[in-house]
Amino acid sequence: MMYHRALASDDGGEIEHHEEETEIAYVVLFPWLSVLCGICAYYVISRYIPGLPYTAAMFIMGTLIGYSSLHFFEGNNAIVESVRMWIGINGTVIILSFLPGLLFLDSYNFNVYLFKQSFSQLVAFAFPMVLFGTFLTALSAYYLLPYGWSFDLCMTFGAILGATDPVAVAVLMNDLGAPSRLKVHIAGESLLNDGSAMVFFTIFSLRFFYELGIDGFGEDVGWLRGFILFFRLSFGGALVGLAFGIGLVFL
């Protein structure tokens, strides 16, 4: 299996490229190593740090794994090889493998009646608010960060940070018995703004890749094309989802 990810070596931060054939079977190791870490993390959190969200603990675990695989281990250690393979995994594969499994249950658990009742609010939270938020975040990044980012990359960055995650709060609200209206707003906003963030991400990342000037990557998306793309991505996605949902039930 080939993987292409720059990793700094210990001596002087020089970039070293790993492009070598490694044992493909190692790829299986990382997910189960993650789950094993998850089990340990769950045990510690549930007994000693009940306030810490599970996902935050997993992120810490991952950071330790990533850092140690970069700085402390060399050679053909199976765990390190597996981690390196996953670090260099194709982004589209990540999206296609993870998001359906993570979002379906949240969508399925939604109170359909309240979803219909609050749909106008959720759309307001998800689309204009995310776009406005993307813009404000992009402005902050553009003027604050000294990395020479173009405004399109800043907008892409803003879109990425526009998506909210209800998992930790949703569990908390269920535990504490928060009002249904609040639960619907938080969960509904999160679900729909995941979608809108993805739409804005797609549009602005196309513009950003176009700026890089690499053949086959990106597109110069103008205002008109942007609007068309926005409606195609959002309405098209909704139609495909409805079609599959109805197909599963009735057709």
Partner: protein
């Protein structure tokens, strides 16, 4: 694709009683979820996320009632979500940890950016508040504040940042027109720095805002229980206390627990601490209606410890020793009792003893016993963290093998053999529970061995008695209302096993047995109390927070009970070790 999808339809997978078909239904939901995302994202070039949201909501709206096994579907997706979250966040952390170009000033920018993002979130929510509070289902100021504070960044942000980072690496790898310096610069500033910031923001929101959200929610008064809610919960507590008291009466009604001391039970089981005479009268009435014709257990020990009520109430209360005539003469219940008694005594002597039939009946009986042990485990009657359930369930494997050869039931001897094998494991477990090898005392350890033996015998007897009852009422012929010779043979074999276990208990010091029985009763009652709130919470009648208050209390009481049970060595030295342990020699494997 859609045509193929139609074959997965839930409507036609309608054999609700088929476990395989229920699993296929769940599989169809996951296939459709992933195909919807793939079709939208890759084939139609639309948003996969929006597709999955609408697919999920449509499935819920029209397919919920068509799902044969809702629990299976929910559990499957819940586990899937747990696994995917574990891998995604570990991967996100691993990429973040291995990002080579994130250090020094980047951390300062990260913290400033995080502060700005929190501020932007508040600005956004309140900028839209005039609109969002007037449309849909409305919104209050407190809810808007919490929504601003609780807008965490998580899975989606990490996934998109991973996507962008990987795409930058992929793009710069595949291009032959850009120089190495340009490629490195792109990777450092457009992939690594960006991912470092997104990962950092996600991490900070999860670590700082996540744990404090509960406090904010409470401070905003969004989860304050009303007075009427408090009253409802107090009614739940009253019902739970009543149920636990009723269960205690039922346990007292069993011969093996008839002499359990109420003061010891009260000490460990908090729901029984405030029992009044009126509560007891109500429990007695329920007990009599549930067990018509049965003699009331001896309550003299219990009555000494219960709180008195005023004179008028006492007059209204039902006599504790006189069973209610009205309940006792209820015709349907009485006929059931007569039917049970007839099954107990009537044997169909016209049926010849058939060895094959006996073998089949033994197999059924052993299956019932297996289910009974599983029930004891899930009800908390058997402690799953010990060797007792292991030895009892393994004993059934031996008994199964013997039954297949036509030999009579011998699971008591097999349980003893396995009990001896697991004894070392028990010692290690005991040392762990009492806080290590240096805290372990000989007296505690010896009492623990006796305790294990008595508990094993108690579980064994309970399982056999229940299995015999079930065997007689559910597996014998309904029409003839009598037992075949094969059935009678198996029941007799079971009784012989029970008498061996009884003999084993009788071999121990009565005081020790009494102590173990009391603790066993406490364990059952505490599990029953916890189970009541678990059921209320699972059915949505209580919030998890309300239920958790009681559950954590019972969990603590159970742990204290277990520790105390293992440390119980009162009076050990007075009677002498050899006398107390002598019972063990008498129940050695036969």
């Amino acid at each position: 694709m859609l045509f193929l999808c139609s074959f997965l339809r839930l409507f036609n997978l309608n054999r609700r009683l088929s476990q395989d078909e229920n699993s296929v239904q769940v599989a169809s939901t996951i296939v459709v979820a992933y195909l919807a995302f793939f079709t939208s994202e890759i084939i139609c070039r639309c948003s996969g996320v929006i597709a999955i949201v609408f697919c999920g909501i449509t499935t819920k709206a029209y397919g919920e009632i068509l799902l044969n096994d809702l629990h299976l579907t929910h559990d499957f997706w819940h586990i899937t979500e747990l696994l995917l979250n574990s891998v995604l966040f570990t991967l996100g952390g691993a990429v973040w940890g291995s990002t080579p170009h994130f250090s020094g000033m980047d951390w300062i920018y990260l913290f400033i950016l995080f502060g700005l993002l929190v501020l932007i979130r508040f600005v956004l929510v309140f900028a839209f508040y005039p609109i969002t509070s007037r449309i849909g289902v409305g919104q209050s100021i407190s809810e808007a504040v919490f929504m601003s504070y609780g807008g965490l960044r998580g899975a989606m942000g990490v996934a998109l940042a991973l996507l962008l980072s990987a795409e930058v690496y992929n793009a710069t790898d595949s291009s032959t027109h850009i120089s190495t310096e340009t490629r490195d610069r792109y990777r450092e500033f457009f992939a690594d720095k960006l991912f470092g910031l997104v990962g950092g923001v996600s991490f900070l929101t999860l670590v700082l805002l996540g744990p404090t959200s509960g406090f904010v929610l409470k401070r905003l008064g969004l989860v304050t229980p009303t007075e009427s809610r408090k009253t409802i919960v107090s009614h739940y507590v009253e019902h739970m206390n009543q149920r636990v008291l009723l269960l205690y009466l039922e346990l007292l009604g069993q011969e093996r627990f008839s002499n359990v001391d109420f003061s010891e039970v009260q000490e460990h089981v908090s729901p029984l601490r405030g029992v009044t005479e009126k509560d007891l009268s109500l429990a007695v009435m329920k007990y009599q209606s549930m067990n018509p014709g049965q003699q009331l257990p001896n309550l003299s020990n219990l009555k000494r410890y219960i709180a008195s009520i005023d004179g008028s109430d006492r007059e209204q209360s039902v006599s504790l020793h006189e069973p209610s005539e009205k309940r006792r003469t209820f015709p349907k219940i009485v006929s059931d009792v007569i039917a049970r008694q007839r099954r107990e005594t009537t044997i169909d002597y016209n049926t010849l003893l058939d060895k094959d039939a006996v073998m089949e009946e033994r197999k059924i009986f052993l299956d019932i016993l297996r289910r009974e042990y599983t029930r004891q485990l899930s009800a908390g009657e058997l402690d799953s963290r010990g060797s007792i359930p292991l030895s009892l369930i393994r004993s059934l494997d031996i008994a199964d093998e013997a039954a297949a050869k036509g030999l009579p039931l011998n699971d008591w001897a097999a349980a003893q053999t396995f009990g001896s094998i697991f004894k070392k494991g028990d010692r290690i477990l005991h040392a762990y529970r009492v806080g290590g090898l240096f805290n372990r005392r000989k007296g505690d350890e010896d009492f623990q061995i006796i305790r294990q033996s008595v508990l094993q015998a108690l579980s064994f007897i309970k399982a056999h008695l229940n299995a015999v009852e079930k065997f007689k009422t559910e597996f014998s012929s309904v029409s003839t209302n009598s037992l075949t010779l094969a059935e009678k043979t198996v029941i007799d074999e079971s009784r012989e096993q029970v008498s061996k276990a009884d003999t084993a208990i009788a071999a121990f010091d009565a005081e020790d047995v009494q102590s173990v029985k009391s603790q066993y009763v406490c364990q059952i009652l505490l599990h029953k109390s916890a189970n009541y709130f678990e059921t209320l919470s699972a059915n949505g009648f209580m919030t998890e927070r309300e239920a958790n208050e009681f559950l954590s209390k019972f969990d603590l009481e159970l742990r204290e009970l277990r520790l105390k049970a293992e440390l119980n060595k009162e009076g050990w030295r007075e009677k002498g070790r050899s006398i107390r342990l002598s019972g063990l020699n008498r129940i050695a494997p036969l």
